[in-house]
């Protein structure tokens, strides 16, 4: 059975329908990408899954459990974590603190435990610190735990955001343009990193991406959105040759120069 199921999801802003009747099935342990031109409703859809927005219609199920209507923290506890298009770290906290905040839902220490620093609380804190260290190491931030998040270089900030998301032990990880603002080399690194997340940790990945090389390189399944509607779905190869997709990206007039457009890094996001 699919890990995440979306059925007929509709999200409107006033007169604008940002997401229209969207259906989606994400199988466990896949890398699934959502692509589409700017304003196609990709991030809006992310926000519907994670509970930032309430869709007007439709259902979203994680492992058969309905998500619509739940607050964001409950959804995270059910096993969905995300990163943000414009990095949103806790900028003035250290890297390790950021990761440890991600562990928050899995820790139990209460007020009294914190005040008296009970053995249980101390053990938990030590464990949490160790786990946060491991996560930082996994994402490539070994030894940088005490640096302030906002002082990290851009690429490492993206990685730290992933570490924070991983800390909540998600089944499904939503990555919103993880290679935005990166040069081709860095994007390549990120691509390998994403694949490792799936291969080594067994996490299902839902990706929004503009870098076509990344998308085509790592996705097993792709859905293309345009004006809030799904216009195509399938394996990367099918998508690359789909005339509707090419039209959506280039407009009617541009269809002639289709070659090379979808397998090169998209210039215009």
């Amino acid at each position: 059975m699919a890990l995440l199921v979306a059925r007929k999801v509709v999200k409107r802003f006033g007169g604008l329908t940002a997401v229209r009747d969207l259906d989606l099935d994400i199988e466990p342990k896949t890398i699934y990408s959502v692509i589409g031109p700017n304003g196609a409703g990709k991030t809006t859809f992310f926000n519907c899954i994670t509970g930032f927005y309430q869709p007007e219609e439709g259902e979203i199920l994680l492992d058969g459990q309905p998500l619509v209507g739940l607050p964001t923290d409950k959804i995270t506890r059910l096993g969905i974590a995300r990163t943000y298009q414009n990095i949103r770290l806790f900028a003035n906290m250290t890297a390790i603190e950021n990761a440890m905040v991600g562990l928050h839902p899995h820790l139990r220490t209460g007020v009294l435990g914190a005040i008296f620093r009970t053995p249980a609380a101390r053990a938990e804190e030590a464990q949490a610190t160790a786990e946060a260290r491991r996560l930082l190491q996994f994402v490539g931030l070994a030894g940088k735990g005490d640096l302030i998040a906002k002082n990290l270089p851009y690429g490492l900030q993206r990685r730290l955001e992933v570490a924070r998301a991983l800390a909540s032990r998600p089944k499904l990880l939503l990555l919103d343009e993880p290679t935005a603002g990166m040069n081709p080399r860095e994007a390549e690194d990120m691509m390998h990193f994403i694949r490792r997340l799936r291969d080594e940790l067994g996490i299902t990945i839902l990706l929004i991406e503009h870098h076509m090389r990344v998308v085509m390189g790592i996705s097993e399944h792709i859905t293309v959105l345009d004006y809030g509607e799904k216009i195509a779905e399938g394996a990367p190869r099918e998508i690359q040759t789909n005339p509707r997709v090419i039209e959506a990206y280039l407009g009617r007039g541009g269809a002639a120069q289709q070659h090379g457009v979808l397998d090169a890094p998209a210039a215009a996001g």
Binding site: F13, T43, Q54, G69, L70, Y84
Partner: protein
């Protein structure tokens, strides 16, 4: 739809609804009890409403200052109550001088216009000074920072004026032309109340026309939409913001004189309560919304004037009039919680991600 609504409903939401329902029931219950007891006569109610309208129009004028600044900078100008106080407190000395020279007795209208002009000018200058010193350097600071400077500026101003003019209560000279009352369609209106209401409405009309039609007004609206875009269009944003403070200050200065017409006295601490109530009025009408401030002011004025007799009395609360201010604060709190967009405003989409 209903199903998701239920799922979304949390325990805290339930408590909130319970509070809302309780307050509503208490108000209705109290009002019915009072009306059934027939304790107050129709003229008494009319007096309360007229008084509320007069008071409310003063709130509305002050509220415009909050709303204009909020609309343009998205910040609460906490020091606005002191801007309001500075005008009539300073103009008192003008009034006293005119009174001693006998000018105020001879031509009271011109005299009062001079006093009003002095009050408006003082408040205007203070408003611009506050903006220049306390807010402008912090335009890009975290949001709490200008709020804290606003609180600081408010106290600093209060005590500067206390130091300058003393802590005593000063009584404005009383003028014969403002004594007496008129009857309008059988409703008794004190002359002062009529003057206050008419003057306030006239000023609000002038402001509305200014904001909507004048070039500066249009620039103000442009800046409130998008500062950067406005700057690109060649609008001097700093100047427009200063103008906004100036306009709000001048209105507060005028409101100060109207306040004096009703209450007759000035003091360094006089700004706080009208200030916070005017802020309530601005919230009631939807902060940032110019007609909203007017509606909110009048509504609050009438509500707090009629309220104690209407529903607190009916609930059997002793000395209900002492709780007049509690009503205003309760309104503020309830509106901010349940309908932060105000009576006229639309709910703005909360942008999160």
């Amino acid at each position: 739809m209903l199903k998701t609504w239920f799922r979304r409903l949390s325990g805290t939401d339930l408590i909130m609804y319970a509070i809302g329902v309780t307050v509503t029931i208490a108000i209705i219950w109290g009002s019915l009890a009072t009306l059934a007891s027939g304790k107050y006569s129709l003229p008494q109610w009319q007096d309360l409403v007229v008084f509320g309208l007069a008071q409310g129009s003063i709130y509305a004028l002050i509220a415009l200052g909050y709303t204009l600044v909020y609309g343009i900078l998205r910040m609460i100008n906490f020091a606005h109550s002191e801007v309001f106080m500075s005008g009539p407190f300073t103009a008192y000395f003008v009034a006293r001088a005119l009174d001693q020279s006998g000018f105020l007795e001879r031509s009271p209208v011109v005299g009062m216009l001079i006093v009003t002009a002095a009050s408006m000018l003082t408040s205007l200058v203070i408003a611009i000074l506050v903006e220049r010193v306390a807010y402008r350097p912090l335009r890009n600071a975290p949001r709490l920072v200008p709020l804290i400077t606003a609180i600081g500026a408010s106290y600093a101003l209060q005590y500067v004026f206390r130091g300058l003019y003393g802590s005593g209560v000063e009584r404005y000279p009383e003028l014969a032309i403002f004594k007496g009352e008129w009857f309008l369609a059988g409703v008794r209106v004190l002359r002062t109340q009529a003057v206050v209401i008419v003057a306030a409405i006239a000023l609000m009309a002038v402001l509305y026309v200014f904001v909507m039609l004048s070039k500066t007004g249009k620039a103000m609206r442009a800046v409130s939409e998008d500062k950067d875009a406005a700057a690109l269009m060649g609008i001097d944003v700093d100047r427009i913001i200063a103008t906004t403070f100036a306009v709000g200050g001048a209105l507060a200065g005028a409101a100060g004189i109207l306040y004096v017409l009703i209450f007759g006295q000035v003091q360094f601490y006089m700004g706080f309560v009208p200030g916070i109530k005017a802020f309530t009025a601005a919230v009631l009408g939807g902060i940032g919304n110019v007609p909203g401030a007017m509606v909110g002011g009048l509504f609050l004025g009438v509500f707090e004037s009629v309220g104690p007799s209407l529903f607190l009395d009916g609930l059997g609360i002793p000395a209900p009039y002492q709780l007049k201010d509690v009503i205003a604060f309760a309104m503020l709190v309830l509106f901010l919680i349940f309908r932060p967009s105000g009576i006229l405003g639309e709910r703005l989409a909360t942008k999160k991600a």
